[in-house]
Symmetry: C2
Subunit: 211 residues, 2 copies
């Protein structure tokens, strides 16, 4: 409990910092391999010139994800947790030192691939986003409810693979709404860019109304 | 650390119990939706009459996975961790009370879908098995090395989907061997049953040499 309280305190500090500097911070949660990094690659490619975006990459080990994003942006930093299963606000606080924060509009944090632990640790973000890929199965929202309950946007990813799977989109949407009735849901593919207009609009509108 | 030591103590107790009763216990680790339950469904369907198998299902919430397995076997019990990110030896100790242990040959534990935390908690199992689906990407073994380092078998699942993905099987095998050179690797599909002979033989041989 003490650990959580200390984390929350520092999360509030981060929150104030973001607010004072008009930075819209998003925390991306999902299982390993749901498509977080691929989504960010496509986001930088498609909108990287229109929005000023800073990125924090979290992984147990390697800087593979940061390396992938650095093909499109210099404003990227990698955190390794080693045995840790989630990012915390202390890590974020220090990660900011490695980024160009001047005129930053968005700070997007890709959390460690994990549908359980990251949902329980605030980073000071404005909103959490949970990503579920169509290859994982429809029942994940009910089996891992915290990650969905704590998020304000659920992205159903890799929809270009739907023809090859028996994934029931409507069932999945129903399960998400069971956990969080007011959840905004976007279906997209980082491969075909289907759903990317909706994703872009969400980024614009949510930042507007938040700041 | 105290928590880990207490868990290890109870894990040793479980280990002794399994040894005395000639039960071969396996702990299945993977991300959410990698195909653990589907593998167990197919395993029960294909070999459930030849091997006496008991099953422990672990999830944050719901008994969906236990329900799925109960279509094929009565010897199934579900543990809910609620906010917990992994099963522990205390939970396993109690779960055994709900199973028919008489003449049991295999006890297979499906851990909470999580590629980080379960690798750090012993349950008293003979071996850990890590499952990685081809839809998750090749680099997971290096990014989540603990889960692979602690396992003796790596199953690459859902191989029937390979025609629709650009997943590099050889690269993935190389990454696994980087983390654990002696890792036994099986490629399989729970849908087409490709690789199931290998899986069956592994179950038979490993139990033989362990007990
Ligand atoms: N077909 C298809 N594949 C995708 C899509 N998005 C991601 N992938 C594939 O899914 C795999 C994993 O993608 P990543 O972006 O690395 O997933 P991640 O969530 O960042 O993984 P971690 O950071 O390790 O948790 C890769 O092989 C990607 O090519 C998509 O929209 N369509
Ligand atoms: N094409 C294909 N799909 C599979 C295969 N194995 C599992 N799936 C699908 O993958 C999805 C998830 O499968 P599950 O067996 O529920 O995965 P899991 O690892 O038990 O998930 P959790 O228990 O929630 O961590 C389901 O939609 C399955 O139908 C396979 O071999 N081939
Ligand atoms: Mg990633
Ligand atoms: Mg399962």
């Amino acid at each position: 409990q003490k650990i959580l309280d200390f984390n929350d305190e520092l999360a509030h500090q981060n929150e104030h910092f973001f607010h004072d500097n008009k930075i819209f911070c998003l925390n991306l949660l999902s299982s390993p391999g749901s498509g977080k990094t691929t989504l960010l690659e496509a986001t930088l490619r498609e909108f990287g010139d229109q929005f000023k975006i800073g990125l924090v990459e979290g992984d147990q080990q390697t800087d593979f994800d940061a390396q992938r994003l650095m093909k499109y942006s210099k404003n990227v930093t990698q955190i390794n947790t080693n045995r840790g299963c989630h990012l915390d606000s202390h890590m974020i606080h220090h990660a900011l030192e490695n980024l160009d924060l001047e005129n930053l509009e968005y700070l997007i944090v890709e959390n460690v691939g994990n549908l359980v632990c990251p949902s329980m640790f605030k980073l000071g973000e404005a909103k959490k986003i949970v990503i579920l890929s169509v290859t994982e199965g429809e029942d994940k929202p009910l089996k891992y409810p915290n990650a969905f309950f704590e998020s304000e946007l659920a992205i159903i990813s890799k929809i270009d693979l739907l023809p090859y799977l028996d994934f029931d989109v409507e069932k999945c949407i129903g399960y998400i709404k069971q956990v969080k009735p007011e959840m905004k849901i976007i279906l997209l593919s980082s491969k075909t860019l289907e759903g990317f207009d909706e994703w872009k609009n969400w980024l614009i509108e949510e930042k507007e109304s938040f700041l």
